[in-house]
Every structure is written in structure tokens, then in C-alpha cells.
């Protein structure tokens, strides 16, 4: 009888220990999965941050201001992206981690095929160049989304020449002004500095342009005649531009700022990155986002 009771008690003890063991095992599994998940996110962010840096664009968010700083022209960006991809595969990724670059159609590709277009969401606004040589810049937003922009400023610095004659800079035609608050009407500020720090300002009172109307166009030349820039604001051949700039033999820095109606926006390239843990067969896949520096006002 006593033996039977002792046996039952032992069995109960073993069962309790077994249940505890199962719970602990599940808990340990969850923790290890959590660390794996963190590792994948960390690796994903590490790579996307470097891709942002290699493309040479700096993004700053200050509350609802989006500021894009860029340099024109650029050299070797696609080549540098290819070398970076080789390097991370050779030295960075550990044996259990795998990184794959994907097109928007989920086809495997190389980082050097990155398209030179940045999309600002949720407005579907695009900031792009013909290619990463950066001899031009096109900024567009769907007409219906244009109300998201309170105003834009364009600060252009030309580092490779002095204005031929700053007082002779004139638009032909001028941007077509419009009533602030109507769809497609953009309030803007524009200034251009040369390498001697002379300044050209677009001096209209309450300057605006209608992005659906024929574009205003300006051509700015410099003492070095091989260097000139041109800009359009508005509609060029049926395409509506918030900004369209051509850079010809000049070294130019731009700061384009948009005051938006929300501080909830994000930017990404069309390419995706997938980071996978081979042992756990879990992965993180998303568009390659551009890293923003967030400033307090």
C-alpha cells in the first residue's frame, strides 16, 4: 500500500517536472526566436543605412518638414553599390544569415541594379534622376496629393562658378501663379548661390506656381560658360513637376525642403531587401528604406 502511494507521488512529481520542462523549453524557444528576429532587423537596418549613404543623399525630418540634401553630379554610385554587396557577402554576413536583393516583382537582383528613384510615402511623390550620374533631378507628385504640400523651398548652391550677371537672371516664361489652397497650386521659395556666395532670390511676393500650367523656366549661366543650370517649375510636355533641374558641367549642392501636412512619411527605393536566418528559416523582407535623421524643431 505504502509502495503504491509512494509510486503515485513520484509519478506526480515527474509529471510536474515534465510539464515545467515543456513550458521552459517553449519559453527558451520564444526567447531565441526573439533574438533571431532582432538580429535580422538589425542586419536589415545596417545594410539599408549604408545604401542610403552610398547614394549620397541625406534625408532630414524636422516635424512635418522633409529636407532632401543632395550633390550633383555623382560618380561611381552603381559601382560602389556592387562593391558594397560583394563586401557584405564576403566579410559581413555570418554563415546563418542570408541577404537577397529583390525587384518589386520579387525577382532576385543585384544591388548595382538599384533604380535611381526615391518614393516618398504616403504621397507617392517621386524624387529621381535619369541615372545615378545625377546630371538632373525630377520631383513629381500626383495631382490629387499636391494638397499635402504647404510650401517648398529650393536652395541651390553652385560650387563651380560665379554668376555671369545675377541681375540678368530672368525666367522665360515665369511660373504661372495661382491661388494658395487650390489643388495643384504650390507655394515656393527659391534661391541660388554661386561660389562667391552671391545670391539670386526668386523675389515675387507670395511666389506660387500651378503644376498643371506650362512650366516656368530659367537658365542660369556662370562665368565659366561650360557650367550652366536650368530649372522648370510646372508642366513640361504633359508631365507635372514640382521641380525639374538640369545640371550641365557644374558642381551643385541642393537642399530641397517640403513642409507637409503630416509628420508621418517615409521614403524608400523600389528595390527590396530580404534578410533570412537559415537555421530558423525566418526572414524579414521590405523595401529598402532611406534612413532619416530626425531633428527637434
Amino acid at each position: 500500500m505504502l509502495t503504491a502511494i509512494a509510486t503515485i507521488l513520484f509519478m506526480l512529481l515527474i509529471d510536474t517536472a515534465f510539464q515545467y520542462s515543456k513550458t521552459s523549453s517553449a519559453y527558451s524557444k520564444r526567447i531565441s526566436e526573439m533574438i533571431v528576429s532582432e538580429k535580422m532587423s538589425y542586419t536589415f537596418d545596417d545594410i539599408t543605412e549604408d545604401v542610403t549613404n552610398i547614394t549620397g543623399i541625406t534625408i532630414v525630418q524636422r516635424e512635418s518638414d522633409l529636407i532632401l540634401k543632395d550633390s550633383f553630379p555623382a560618380t561611381n554610385i552603381s559601382q560602389n553599390l556592387a562593391r558594397y554587396e560583394n563586401f557584405i557577402r564576403w566579410r559581413y554576413l555570418s554563415s546563418e544569415l542570408e541577404a537577397t536583393f529583390l525587384t518589386s516583382n520579387e525577382q532576385q537582383t543585384n544591388l548595382s541594379n538599384l533604380t535611381s528613384q526615391i518614393t516618398v510615402q504616403p504621397f507617392a511623390m517621386t524624387y529621381n534622376y535619369t541615372n545615378f550620374s545625377k546630371n538632373d533631378l525630377f520631383i513629381q507628385i500626383p495631382y490629387a496629393q499636391s494638397g499635402a504640400i504647404q510650401y517648398i523651398w529650393y536652395n541651390i548652391s553652385v560650387n563651380s562658378g560665379n554668376f555671369t550677371n545675377v541681375s540678368n537672371i530672368t525666367w522665360n516664361p515665369y511660373p504661372q501663379s495661382c491661388v494658395v489652397g487650390t489643388t495643384g497650386c504650390i507655394k515656393f521659395y527659391l534661391k541660388v548661390n554661386d561660389s562667391a556666395d552671391q545670391e539670386y532670390n526668386y523675389t515675387y511676393i507670395n511666389p506660387t506656381f500651378d503644376m498643371t500650367a506650362n512650366a516656368g523656366h530659367v537658365n542660369i549661366s556662370f562665368v565659366n560658360q561650360s557650367c550652366w543650370i536650368e530649372m522648370w517649375l510646372g508642366n513640361v510636355s504633359g508631365q507635372q513637376y514640382l521641380f525639374n533641374m538640369g545640371v550641365h558641367n557644374c558642381s551643385v549642392k541642393t537642399e530641397i525642403g517640403l513642409n507637409l501636412n503630416t509628420s508621418n512619411f517615409w521614403l524608400h527605393f523600389p528595390m527590396k531587401l530580404k534578410v533570412r536566418d537559415i537555421n530558423y528559416n525566418t526572414s524579414k523582407e521590405d523595401n529598402i528604406g532611406l534612413i532619416m535623421t530626425r531633428l527637434l524643431r
Partner: protein, 143 residues
């Protein structure tokens, strides 16, 4: 004779139960549940340190620093940011692309720990305009 058989069976059952109990306890001990907590804290410390150094440009600045300067900077930052209950060591590998990757520069800062539980995190950083590429490997232990 009959009493002896019962006693033997009793003893056998006790031995089997004891072995089972021992097996379960051994399994429980091998789970090292407490070690996971430690590993998370170590992992977070290592990850935070490297992320901060990447974002404040400490890592890319190393490309243009001498080895002693880089070591001094990293030692100072480790002493400030890593909790006093932990040891941390950072190994930097600097590579230069010259047709192929020449990775012949190595920098170490911090202090290695002696305990079994440690966390290792890596970060890549680059200055592609000057063809520099680097890997930072951070190891963190409890004291």
C-alpha cells in the same frame, strides 16, 4: 521467498523512478533558462553600442585615424556606454578596395571577459568614395 520478490520489484520500481527523475532534472538544468535573460541583455548592449557608433560616425572616422587614436576613442566610449557589470571588447577590421579587398588593418579595444555567456554582434560601415570598408565585431560578457 514471496516477500523477497515483492521487495526486489519495489526496489526496481524505485530505481526506474529515480533514473527518470534524474533525467528530467538534468534536462531542466541543461535548459539554462536564466542564461537566456543574460544573453538578451548582452545582445542589446552590444547592438546599442555598435548602432550608436555607426550613427555618430565614430566607425567611419576610424578610416582616417591612427590605430592608437581609434583604440583610445573606442576604449573611452566603451567605459561610458557599457554597463559596469559587463566586459566588452570590440574588434575592427578595415579593408581598402584596390582591385580586391585588402583587409590588413586590425584594431582592438576594450577588455575580454572570462564567463561562458557572451553575445557577439557585427556591424558593417563604409566610405565608398574612398574605397574603405570596415567590419566592427562587438563581444560582451558579464563580469
Amino acid at each position: 521467498m514471496r516477500r523477497g520478490v515483492v521487495f526486489t520489484l519495489d526496489a526496481l520500481v524505485a530505481v526506474v523512478i529515480a533514473i527518470l527523475a534524474l533525467a528530467v532534472i538534468t534536462q531542466l538544468l541543461s535548459l539554462r533558462t536564466g542564461e537566456w535573460y543574460k544573453e538578451i541583455a548582452l545582445y542589446n548592449s552590444a547592438q546599442d553600442f555598435l548602432t550608436s557608433r555607426d550613427k555618430d560616425s565614430t566607425l567611419v572616422t576610424i578610416f582616417n585615424q591612427t590605430d592608437p587614436d581609434a583604440t583610445a576613442t573606442l576604449n573611452n566610449l566603451i567605459s561610458v556606454q557599457i554597463p559596469p557589470s559587463m566586459f566588452a571588447r570590440i574588434n575592427i577590421t578595415v579593408c581598402k578596395y584596390q582591385g580586391s579587398y585588402d583587409c590588413s588593418r586590425f584594431i582592438t579595444a576594450g577588455q575580454a571577459g572570462t564567463t561562458d555567456t557572451k553575445s557577439v554582434t557585427r556591424r558593417v560601415f563604409t566610405n565608398t568614395n574612398n574605397s574603405y570598408y570596415g567590419i566592427a565585431t562587438m563581444e560582451v560578457w558579464y563580469k
